[in-house]
């Protein structure tokens, strides 16, 4: 079974990927914009935060800078799409590839260690909590703040305009909504959240690495789809809850699969497990509906 430390570790990473899932919810679900920039903006957030922290900046300011850097990356993708008419998926791949170089430039080397530095987590270790519980507590607070801000935003006039842009662009334009501007704002916001996740991940793991972004999009999507399978996203609140719970459940499922000796799985099987879990998350809701359908037909 899962040890306590492995459990907290999984929840901690799950909370970080909850932020990634928020971002992916904005791009994939709200805007219907398949955005792969996140594979680059996650390590970008990590790199920016790490380099500022080792240069003596306040870790919160460094984290804020990581959010801005992520937003800038997202804006580049959206502008390539909106202004230069490059297909959204391709635009995001271009930015993602470019960010690999940018991230190396930002750090000046492939990775930056933060083990001896003060991070956003440092003051929380004095509160008397167990060492492995500290990140979980702080990240729960961060996720709650992000959740409330995002929920309020989606209910605001601008947020509603953004949702209309993704759902029915022609109708949105007819209502006077600048759909291009909404896409730029939304994708920027999405990658800002991913940049935040990257910055927090680097600080909790003690290092930023240029390769840490590989597969972030798949994990984020897995969290989103898995969460939606558990909590039907019929409202904004439910959709956001689905992001967080999906991410935590996903990390727990991975941790469980890797820790259960009976299954005989090892760390290198991670990506295979991911693929299996995503497939299950996509297929299971359909199975559930058809089983329910058969049951109700029998009753009738």
């Amino acid at each position: 079974m899962l040890s306590e430390i492995a459990f907290y570790g999984a929840v901690e990473t799950g909370l970080i990927y909850g932020l990634v899932a928020f971002g992916i919810y904005i791009s994939f679900r709200v805007l219907d914009f398949p955005d792969l920039t996140v594979d680059g903006s996650f390590p970008l957030g990590a790199a920016v935060a790490a380099i500022l922290i080792i240069n003596g900046w306040n870790p919160w300011i460094a984290t804020g800078a990581a959010v801005l850097a992520g937003m800038a990356a997202g804006a580049v993708t959206a502008i390539l799409n909106v202004k230069l008419n490059i297909l959204n998926l391709l635009a995001s791949i271009l930015t993602m590839i470019a960010l690999y170089s940018v991230n190396l430039r930002v750090m000046g080397r492939p990775n930056v260690a933060l083990l001896t530095e003060d991070t956003v987590l440092t003051p929380w270790y004095d509160l008397g909590l167990a060492y492995h519980q500290v990140p979980v507590v702080l990240f729960i607070l961060v996720v709650i703040v992000a959740f409330i801000l995002l929920w309020r935003f989606m209910k605001s006039e601008t947020g509603l305009a953004m949702r209309a842009t993704g759902a029915n662009a022609r109708m949105a334009r007819a209502q006077g909504i600048a759909t291009g501007g909404m896409i730029i704002l939304g994708v920027a916001l999405s990658n800002g959240l991913v940049g935040l996740a990257g910055a927090l991940f680097a600080q909790s793991q003690g290092a930023a690495d240029v390769t840490m972004g590989v597969g972030v999009i798949v994990i984020g999507l897995a969290s989103l789809i898995g969460g939606e399978a558990v909590i039907t996203p019929s409202s904004v609140v439910r959709a956001l809850l689905a992001c967080v719970f999906g991410a935590i459940i996903y990390r727990l499922a991975i941790a469980f699969a890797l820790n259960a000796d009976v299954l005989g799985l090892q760390a290198q099987d991670l990506n295979l497990i991911t693929a299996v879990l995503v497939t299950l998350a996509i297929v299971l809701p359909g199975v559930r509906t058809s089983v329910m359908g058969k049951l109700s037909r029998k009753k009738a």
Partner: protein, 264 residues
Amino acid sequence: MISASDLRLTFGKGTPLENPALRGMSLTVNQGEFVTVIGSNGAGKSTFLNALAGEVLVDSGEIIVDNTDVTKLPTHKRANRVARVFQDPLAGTCEGLSIEENLALAIKRGQRRGLTTAVKKQYMEKFRESLSSLKLGLENRLGDKMGLLSGGQRQAVSLLMASLTPSSILLLDEHTAALDPKTAAFVLELTQKIIEEQKLTALMVTHSMKQALEVGSRTVMLHQGQVVFDIAGQEREGLEVKDLLGLFEKQRGLSVDDDSLLLG
């Protein structure tokens, strides 16, 4: 008042599929007029409406709405002046959003959108009141998703949304064509009622000559991207579909070969 002069637009210029959709289209619609627009397939009706709305930009010509030149403005910058109902009942509303959210989008048409709550309490009475005028019981279903409504109900709400804030012109693009006859009659009646009550200036494209003569105060017929005739007032009174066809043949020396115009 809305005035279009000498609009020209060619799709696919320089390709084998080159298609001149508008060839010197001119039309002035005065304040408070309700103009019906007819024409066979490919006459340029939809392109004309799209040009007025800003969905397509014309190659040359000028579009003036209430003394403002909007020729080069994109759709969203004209939206404060131009309201629109689409042919497809699914196109005018967002099915994933609730009825009240759709109305909240429409009440801010063409205005700045901020960070305050979109669905405000002070809107509710207005929403309920206008929905109850539809007599569909929708005033009690404000929180329901738009996708739960039928095509006719959605088209009725689209119409309501278009008339929620003042506009210089209301564009109706065959907005009853995709509905069953009974629902189409309901939506048309509602259209007339709203236009009359709010004294709106409207341009309605229709595929039915009969409908074109029965509603509105003026009828124009388009052919090959131009206005071929334009009748109003006494001249239009008592006119029947066969007179309209005669008029068309006389004007162009052509016979109408589009069955849908005759059958409509």
